[in-house]
Symmetry: C2
Subunit: 101 residues, 2 copies
DNA sequence: TAGGTATTTAGGGAATTTCCTAAATTTGTA
DNA sequence: TACAAATTTAGGAAATTCCCTAAATACCTA
């Protein structure tokens, strides 16, 4: 648990929003983009970039930062990279703050 | 609960350390500096700056940021400003991350 | 009131972060 | 092989953060 890296990965409005959007993709992404969606994979970079209203490279880098902090999990499948939340790490973060911070 | 403001206030190694030091002042500050210490007040700016090895103005600003985010509580007493943790807010943060993030 | 201590405010150079475009890479398909 | 789609890498301008010194302010005591 690299607390500082995790906190830094969340210290940006767009990145924090991405984490929230991925909690319930059906509530936040257009249905047609989620036709391939499975909870095991998550949502692909370009769909997240569209939702964020930012360029794909920027969002790609954000997602990379967040998975480096172990808050997101990336899965490459063909030409796509899908990202989903790492629920275990998020719960560990909550417990760390509650008990140790 | 302004989550982003809270996270930003913690997204710096020194500020994160300050929060940890204040969790147990006797373990982190020289005893002679804590002769006036009470849990109700906390630790004064210059003692925290000394511990951090940074200038007083820098640390004063850090502490201001953290109390603006409601993570620390400031109490002015005479010429000193004491800072302590806002345990309620820290627990709220943990719960927010656990249940809503 | 004068002088001393603690803190805050102001100003700014250096480092980091933000987020873009262009180019390169990876993978799928004809 | 050639081309297209998705992503990543590289490079950089603009904004923000970091953290300093100098000056101003607040409060205490003689």
């Amino acid at each position: 648990m690299e607390l500082l890296a995790i906190i830094k990965s969340l210290s940006n409005e767009t990145r924090l929003n991405i984490l929230k959007w991925l909690k319930d993709p059906f509530a936040h992404f257009p249905e047609e983009e989620l036709s391939e969606y499975t909870p095991a994979l998550g949502v692909c970079v370009s769909d997240i970039a569209k939702k964020a209203g930012m360029s794909v490279p920027t969002v790609s880098d954000y997602l990379k930062t967040m998975s480096a902090a172990n808050i997101l999990i990336a899965t490459r499948k063909g030409q796509w990279t899908y990202y989903k939340r790492n629920e275990k790490s998020i719960q560990e973060l909550a417990i760390y703050i509650k008990e140790r911070l």
